[in-house]
């Protein structure tokens, strides 16, 4: 029993690592641009399908690198052409805009690749389990966790120690001042958005190896990352990471002990957190209210 419990917690962390990856992108965009990107799930799907298309030519590793970059480029274009127009306007508009984009992307994907699900093959050695005992820790899932960890570390280093990163962080707290300092906010936001979408694309490729690709797979993954942000506290990337892992474990455990609540549990978790700490676990007073 205790062993089973241990397994499930580990497993939950693995799932959580994936949510973190997706939620971070969402969080970056929300923090700097004050935009809830409903289309994030859509970009994830694009990433997955691009990988599927590139796989025959570049192989898994090639696709793993190329697809997210292509997704980021698409994202950048979308940001420049559409999303940048609603910056500074009532959040209502960015919500509706990305909401519409989500529709367009899902339908576009169905139009291009068809409604029929698509498999993404992964390297043989990754698809094996660690051991008969720890069968649920496959090479691939370890690889996902490793990727997530690397990305998180990179991101935090970037935000702490590079000029761009520091500006992004400053912008999160007080955009006016940053603009006042002569920083090109527009470029900063575009870059930041691209990074966010890159993460979405990457999550898409990784998900493709684990799940069957499907035009609608985005929605299912959007909400958890969304909750991860609220639980962790809007405005705090560390919080997002914490939130992601938390809901991963929470859903993993309930799936075993009370399956019929496995989806609802993350929302209950959120409700509880908000009741105790209205700002979320690591959210700071005065952010985005």
């Amino acid at each position: 029993m205790t062993q089973l419990l241990l397994f499930d917690i580990t497993n939950g962390l693995i799932i959580g690592a994936f949510y973190v990856l997706m939620a971070l992108g969402l969080s970056l965009i929300l923090n700097l641009s004050n935009v809830i990107n409903f289309a994030h799930g859509g970009f994830l799907v694009i990433g997955g399908y691009l990988a599927y298309t590139l796989l025959p030519y570049l192989g898994f590793w090639g696709a793993l690198i190329a697809a997210p970059f292509l997704t980021a480029i698409i994202g950048l274009a979308v940001e420049r052409v559409l999303i940048s127009r609603v910056y500074g306007r009532d959040p209502l508009y960015s919500l509706l805009l990305t909401f519409g984009l989500a529709f367009i992307i899902e339908d576009g994907v169905r139009y291009i690749w068809g409604a029929q699900g698509k498999p993404v093959g992964i390297p043989e050695f990754l698809s094996r389990s660690l051991s008969g005992e720890l069968f649920f820790i496959t090479g691939y899932r370890l690889f996902m966790v490793a990727t997530a960890t690397t990305i998180v570390t990179l991101l935090f280093v970037l935000l702490r120690y590079t000029r761009i990163g520091i500006r992004i962080r400053a912008g999160t707290l007080d955009l006016e001042t940053v603009a006042g300092l002569g920083v090109n906010v527009r470029a900063l936001r575009s870059l930041n958005f691209a990074v966010g979408i890159f993460l979405a694309g990457l999550s898409g490729v990784l998900a493709g190896g684990q799940l069957g690709l499907e035009p609608t797979m985005g929605d299912g993954l959007l909400m958890p990352s969304f909750i991860a942000i609220i639980v962790g506290g809007v405005g705090s990337l560390a919080g997002t990471v914490l939130g992601g892992l938390l809901i991963g474990v929470a859903s993993g455990l309930t799936a075993v002990f009370y399956p019929s609540a496995s989806e609802a549990v993350i929302y209950v978790l959120m409700a509880v957190v908000l009741l105790i700490r209205p700002r979320g676990l690591l959210g700071e007073e005065g952010m985005l209210t």
Binding site: L211, G252, P259
Partner: protein
């Protein structure tokens, strides 16, 4: 404005422009709508074309279109051209499905309503068709009540009931794989009835159940359930989830190497899902409701060839066949009865035997008079990791069990048809 593929067999996407134009015309002139009613026999298809069930829904559409073209080629129904009005019911929004059903019946006054892949939507639609007394054929919604406790005189169903699925395959799995079973069941009506069917059979055979994982529809990560299932260490792991859930589940099973330690199998399997899986995930004994590779069976090759033509080289799946059968059975009885009267045709459809070119399989296939359930065969066999001879030949049929041998007697379905005066 609705697509009328029957009249020309236009592909759905190519139709947009012309349709839009026609749409304007229709909005402009009040008389178009009423004008239609007279000269054609109208069949309304209210089925998912977007969302999770888009793939099966799309295939059923292809089957329907082919049938309509064939009927029109042979002079239509009662000498009148058949037109197929296609509406997207969406995959889960009953409100829309009902809305479209009303649209087809009230505005376009269709003679036959067809749909839905999603059992819930099918039943919601049945509510409307029953209220309006319109003949209604459900091609691919599996939950038992449709031809059981909630059956109606005007509603017919082509695909299996979950009970038939269970009966068709459980004994074989028991014989080949062993007596200790663990289930992964989708947590909604379809899954529950399917599980009950399997359980009943298993009990009869003296097997035991080590557990049943109820997974919410749309579950992407099955690891938690698989860990639990594996810990129970059964002889067989039965996967009852469908569609993309099944794909994800089997994919993770193979990655975890569970299929190396436990037998993995299930009841209903569909080509749509199998094609969405990577080869290593294609394992176990399953049951197909129809399969395209039947050497030497009358009419199959022609059917497959026609579908390939219509679908850019893809073979027909069970779904394609469901659509095909739905339309043809209606055409046949209507012409036989020389009438479009719903009640008359409903009576005639009861115990109506499908001809070879429509049933395209060895055994007798007919709608049972007592509950309006089609007695279709179950194709039992094993999944092939890679296409044998044809990339889409991913299933090796071992036996074809006739429908009436696996269907519970009408008395057990809980269906009593109430006919209008």
């Amino acid at each position: 404005m609705t697509i009328r593929s029957g009249s020309a067999g236009i592909g759905r996407r190519t139709v947009i422009k012309s349709a839009a134009a026609a749409g304007v015309a229709q909005f402009a002139s009040p008389f178009v709508v009423s004008a239609w009613a007279a000269d054609t026999v109208k069949i309304g298809l209210d089925n998912p074309l977007t969302g999770t069930y888009a793939a099966p829904g799309g295939n059923e559409l292809i089957g329907c279109k082919l049938a309509v073209e064939q009927i029109n080629a042979k002079g239509g129904i009662l000498g009148r051209k058949v037109e197929l009005l296609v509406e997207d019911s969406t995959s889960g929004d009953a409100g829309t499905a009902v809305q479209k059903a009303r649209k087809l019946i009230e505005r376009d006054n269709v003679d036959l309503l067809v749909g839905n892949v999603n059992s819930a939507l099918a039943q919601a639609m049945a509510g409307v068709s029953y209220e309006k007394g319109v003949l209604h054929i459900v091609p691919g919604g599996h939950t038992d009540p449709i031809t059981g406790t909630d059956c109606h005189w005007n509603v017919f169903r082509v695909c299996n009931t979950t009970r038939m699925e269970a009966n068709s395959i459980v004994p074989l799995l028991f014989k080949t794989y062993g007596k200790k079973w663990h289930f992964i069941t989708p947590d909604y009506a379809f899954g529950h009835t399917l599980y009950d069917g399997c359980e009943a059979n298993l009990k009869k055979l003296g097997g035991t159940i080590t557990g049943n994982e109820l997974t919410p529809l749309g579950t992407t990560d099955f690891s938690a359930y698989l860990i639990k299932a594996r810990a129970a260490n059964p002889d067989v792991l039965i996967v009852l989830v469908q569609g993309s859930d099944m794909v994800n589940c089997l994919k993770q099973i193979s990655q975890f190497g569970i299929d190396k330690q436990i037998h993995v199998a299930g009841t209903q399997q569909e080509l749509e899902s199998v094609e969405a899986m990577p080869p290593e995930a294609r394992v176990g004994i399953w049951m197909f409701e129809w399969y395209w590779n039947q050497p030497g069976v009358a009419g199959v090759d022609k059917f497959v060839a026609d579908i390939r033509k219509a679908s850019g080289g893809k073979v027909p799946t069970a779904r394609t066949w469901f659509g095909y059968v739905s339309i043809h059975s209606y055409g046949l009885v209507a012409n036989a009865q020389k009438s479009l009267d719903a009640k008359k045709l409903a009576k005639a459809l009861g115990d109506f035997q499908l001809p070879p070119e429509v049933k395209v399989q060895p055994n007798n296939v007919y709608f049972r008079g007592g509950d309006h359930q089609l007695m279709l065969s179950a194709f039992i066999g094993e999944l092939l990791k890679n296409g044998d001879g044809d990339p889409e030949n991913l299933f090796k049929v071992n036996s074809v069990v006739s429908g009436d041998s696996i269907a519970p007697p009408v008395s057990e379905t809980g269906c009593t048809l109430k006919w209008p005066a």
